[in-house]
Symmetry: C2
């Protein structure tokens, strides 16, 4: 009886990502928080990087039970990261989880990356659904990346969030520097740096002579502030940026109210 | 000579959308602004609704010259709306346009729709690239929708923006009510309403008995404010919401600075 009461009190932790259910990053995240609540994984069945906040509206979705590790209920979904959150709430959990975690992404989601990121779109989707959420990303694209520092800090952050009552729309974009755990200096709450990709397309010819284009780009930080995520990461801090889904630019709104004339 | 000087002075207007190059909405937008500058169209070769801010990173892109209407250079692209903007700047225009317009979308992009919208992701992508931009949407999903009011107001808005110098990151989310042009009361600068879809999945069985899920949802406005886009549209105004790509929630940032402890 005591056991069942304890079980009921366990927070439900929904975990997803955008690299797909087989990526090392999600396994590391599950390992990091597994004993903090009841973990349920619903993640894409294939990589979904760069999917932004895409949702699937022209096709139906599939959901399949798979094995990720013992004692962790895991499902793979044919949709985007945002789809995974929606489907998890409606068809797997049949309730809202206490927190939704996304990642750990293989690669940075600081600064402007938040806009393109499938990892962050899952977290933002949860926050729209009034579920506090965190997206985690490590500044290393390799499938062999060392997640030990990331795991340690991800666990601490989730522990703190589960302790108190959080804003229902809380959404954190957390990035980990790509350094040994012993070199991480701590956690910094930051703003999103103004940085972007200076893009280019690599034009090639197919065997029949027709052109095709590969997107390439160089990351460029235009922001000299010391309160940004890029600055924090460059100085070996874990960056935490609170993210909102109200995109209204209130400063420009005020200007336009007097400027636009009809 | 005079003619060539005049041509040089013409603003370059890049037009894209998310319903694809063959959609009536984009044709109506081109018609509305055709004589305000040199219009170049680079739009998806297929519908891309709900693509959010997806970009194509695992596949190369194709670009093909097509005919939309006489005297309008038009290209179709195999990528997402955000890809279209990137590719247009780098491989079609070889420069930044003076303005980027996206739409006219068949269906609403007010309130939370801005997050899922391919139309708005193209506009936001342009604003990241320091190109002033506007996404236009009509509250009617039909391919037979009447765009006459939308055209009239879209033209007025673009005319005003081309007259003065705009903030390089200006990005407007413009929605038109689905009423006869004569019933439109004017233009209102608004904030994004707090509204969302209360979602549900319609579970069905395929011929071999396996489940698949269709996303369905009911739109629900939780926002009683009279300064929102949803309110304006319900009262037959054209809504204009200025949109930003800095997602930092500064209020929550301040709270977290004292709350998170490591």
């Amino acid at each position: 009886m005591a056991k069942s009461i304890k079980k009921k009190e366990q927070p439900i932790i929904l975990i997803t990502n955008d690299d797909g259910v087989t990526a090392p990053g999600i396994r590391n995240l599950v390992e990091a928080v597994k004993d903090l609540g009841k973990v349920v994984v619903v993640a894409p069945d294939k990589p979904q990087s760069g999917m932004g906040h895409a949702i699937t509206i022209g096709f139906p979705l599939r959901l399949q039970r798979v094995h990720l590790m013992d004692d962790v209920e895991t499902w793979q979904c044919s949709g985007t990261p945002a789809d995974c959150v929606k489907l998890a709430v409606d068809k797997v959990l049949h309730r809202k989880p206490d927190i939704c975690l996304s990642g750990i992404n293989h690669g940075a989601n600081h600064s402007i990356n938040v806009i393109y990121s499938g990892t962050m779109s899952a977290a933002i989707e949860a926050s729209i659904e009034s579920i506090p959420s965190v997206g985690f990303s490590l500044l290393n694209y390799s499938m062999e990346a060392d997640f030990s520092g990331a795991k340690q800090y991800a666990r601490q952050i989730v522990q703190q969030l589960l302790k108190g009552k959080q804003d229902k729309h809380l959404c954190l974009n957390v990035n980990f520097p790509n350094v040994d755990a012993s070199l991480i200096k701590g956690v910094k709450v930051c703003r999103q740096a103004y940085a972007k990709y200076v893009e280019d397309f690599d034009e090639r010819k197919d065997p029949s002579g027709k052109s095709y284009y590969w997107l390439t780009g160089e990351f460029k930080n235009f922001d000299k502030g010391k309160d940004t995520d890029v600055w924090a990461l460059e100085h070996n801090f874990v960056s935490v940026v609170p993210v909102q889904f109200d995109l209204t630019d209130y400063k420009v709104k005020k200007k336009l109210e007097t400027k636009l004339k009809f």
